[in-house]
């Protein structure tokens, strides 16, 4: 009988649960400065977004350079709902922002007939078109001057836990998708879409499904992000930089894996935070260098590097044992 991996292997589930609980208790037991709390919150949000992007880019192999459109749409829909004369409670506004982004993602249906670089180029077009559309749609987005949300100090502190909860859900969802028959079919479509159809996989349906799931979660992230900054503008929310950020985080960490986008997002947020303050010109260059090194030497990014180190250590240990064992 073939051994099959559990959907959520205990080896990953137990450390993950411990980390989430520790992070949830951190502000209560240890205490964090507002600066640290904001950094954590931002990291949780970026991890959620990167993992959701990875469902498309990693599992399905459709690399999107246009996810900022979904992030921005979710953010502005949530912001508008919260600003309305009868303000919607923030969690409902975020949720509806995610729903709006999910519905908008259905528009990718014709593009998903394209594969590889052709799909990526199409997403650049849609992403940039969205940015322009929403910049000029001043009634909705406030145009170039953006939207200010009511400042709510209590909300900003609470967002730490909301963002942590979202991240935990997205990590669990990533495991569920990857290890279920859905993930198996996505990987089959990634490898050979025609061969997958020949054994019964409805490629069109599953591509649309993953696009909608990915878009909805990225939209949800955008909603929380809008509450977090309390001020959003189209050039930032819909910017090409933001689309690139989703790609960068996954590729730096290890595309197609679950640990990868998590590591990638942490590195991305920290590097950005420290470099942007002191060397604003250097930080994009550093990402570029990192990307070149990863593509040349380690396609699985930081995750691949970690695996390589683990293998080397194990080999060295095994070698040492053999030396000891042999007379």
């Amino acid at each position: 009988m073939t051994r099959w991996p559990a959907i959520f292997p205990p080896r990953a589930a137990i450390p993950f649960a411990l980390v989430v609980v520790a992070l949830a208790l951190l502000p209560v037991l240890v205490g964090v400065t507002p600066y640290e709390r904001n950094l954590f919150t931002l990291t949780f949000l970026m991890i959620s977004g990167a993992l959701a992007w990875n469902w498309m880019g990693g599992y399905l192999g459709q690399v999107s350079f246009g996810h900022a459109a979904l992030f921005g749409l979710g953010g502005f829909v949530a912001a508008r709902l919260m600003l309305h004369a009868n303000p919607t409670p923030a969690p409902i506004a975020w949720f509806l922002g995610g729903v709006a982004a999910g519905i908008f993602s259905l528009g990718a249906h014709p593009m998903l007939r394209l594969r590889g670089p052709y799909f990526s180029i199409a997403t650049i077009g849609v992403g940039e078109a969205s940015r322009l559309l929403f910049t000029y749609w001043e009634e909705f987005t406030g145009g170039a001057s953006g939207l200010s949300l009511p400042i709510d100090i209590g909300m900003k502190a609470l967002l730490y836990w909301w963002a942590l909860g979202l991240m935990a859900l997205v990590v669990v969802a990533s495991f569920l998708i990857r290890r279920s028959t859905l993930g198996l079919q996505l990987l089959a479509i990634k490898a050979d879409v025609d061969a997958a159809a020949d054994v019964g996989v409805n490629a069109t349906f599953y591509q649309d499904l993953v696009m909608v799931l990915s878009g909805a979660v990225v939209g949800l992230t955008g909603g929380l992000y809008a509450s977090f900054f309390a001020f959003i503008e189209p050039s930032d929310m819909f910017g090409f930089d933001r689309s690139i950020a989703f790609v960068l985080m996954s590729v730096i960490g290890g595309v197609g894996t679950i640990l990868g986008p998590v590591l990638g997002a942490i590195v991305f947020v920290l590097l950005r935070q420290f470099l942007l303050a002191s060397y604003p010109q250097l930080y994009l260059g550093l990402y570029g260098l990192l990307l070149i090194l990863i593509i040349l030497f380690e396609p699985l990014g930081l995750t691949g590097l970690g695996l390589r180190v683990a293998r080397a250590v194990r080999r060295r240990r095994a070698g040492a044992r053999r030396v000891v064992a042999s007379p």
């Binding site: 073939t2 198996l184 990987l187 020949d198 996989v201």
Partner: protein, 249 residues
């Protein structure tokens, strides 16, 4: 369903690519539990005929019937649900999935006609084709014969009624070819699957097939038992050219 309706039938099915008629008005019938060989010279339209039946490409005209119901012009994944599955001449495993996962992808869609989980189904099929010990390996580590078995297993996991094999024996050494031929016979005998096979390896196709259809330039030029077909002068002409057997000037 009436007994008069064959399991699978094509009615005057045709496919044109521009001015070229790749398949031209072919009528084929496949009965339950039968192995039908399809032979013909290179470029006769055999693989195109398979693609038409499997729904990979739509026909220009004509139709495909399954037990009397039209199944043509449906996408490939729906034909798998109806019970028609094909393999490819050049094997196409999913290189990023293990052998067992490759088969499980097929098994997901066999659940319409089988019990158990896709994983149990995959394990059973791997055992049947003799790849159980390679379940956790990547397809790239298999020999050609192993990859052909994998291609067969992935198709079988969909629990087909009709299995279409596109040159699964070609390219194997004689011992491997014998074992694979035996496996094809077991698929029919033990699993009750009807088989249509394109094959160039004549000893295999002649010994396995109950009936053989011959295609040439997109048309069916002969059909019958292996012995009848071999003796048919039209078939000899298609393979060897006109004038064979006559005194040369």
């Amino acid at each position: 369903m009436t007994t008069a309706d064959p399991l699978l039938a094509t009615r005057a099915i045709s496919k044109s690519f521009g001015g070229l008629k790749a398949v031209d008005g072919v009528d084929l019938e496949l009965r339950e539990g039968e192995i039908l060989g399809v032979i013909g010279p290179n470029g006769a339209g055999k693989t195109t005929l398979f693609s038409l039946i499997a729904g990979s490409i739509p026909p220009t005209s004509g139709e495909v019937l399954m037990r009397g119901f039209r199944v043509s012009r449906r996408p490939a994944h729906k034909l798998v649900r109806a019970g028609v599955v094909r393999t490819h001449q050049i094997v196409r495993p999913f290189p990023n999935l293990t052998v067992a996962e490759n088969v499980a992808v097929g098994a997901i869609h066999g659940m319409w006609r089988a019990t158990g989980t896709p994983r149990e189904r995959a394990a059973e099929v791997l055992e049947f084709v003799g790849l159980a010990d390679r379940a956790l390996d990547l397809p790239g580590t298999l020999t050609l014969a192993g990859r052909k078995r994998l291609e067969l297993a992935r198709a079988l996991a969909t629990v087909p009624l009709v299995l279409m094999l596109d040159e699964v024996i070609a390219g194997l050494n004689p011992a491997e070819a014998m074992r694979l031929a035996a496996l094809i016979r077991r698929i029919r005998d033990e699993r009750g699957v009807a088989v249509i096979m394109i094959e160039h390896v004549m000893p295999a196709v002649m010994s396995l097939s109950d009936r053989v259809a011959v295609l040439d330039h997109g048309k069916k030029i002969a059909e019958g038992t292996p012995a009848e077909v071999v003796g048919n002068p039209l078939v000899v002409e298609a393979y060897l050219g006109k004038g064979h057997g006559e005194a040369r000037p």
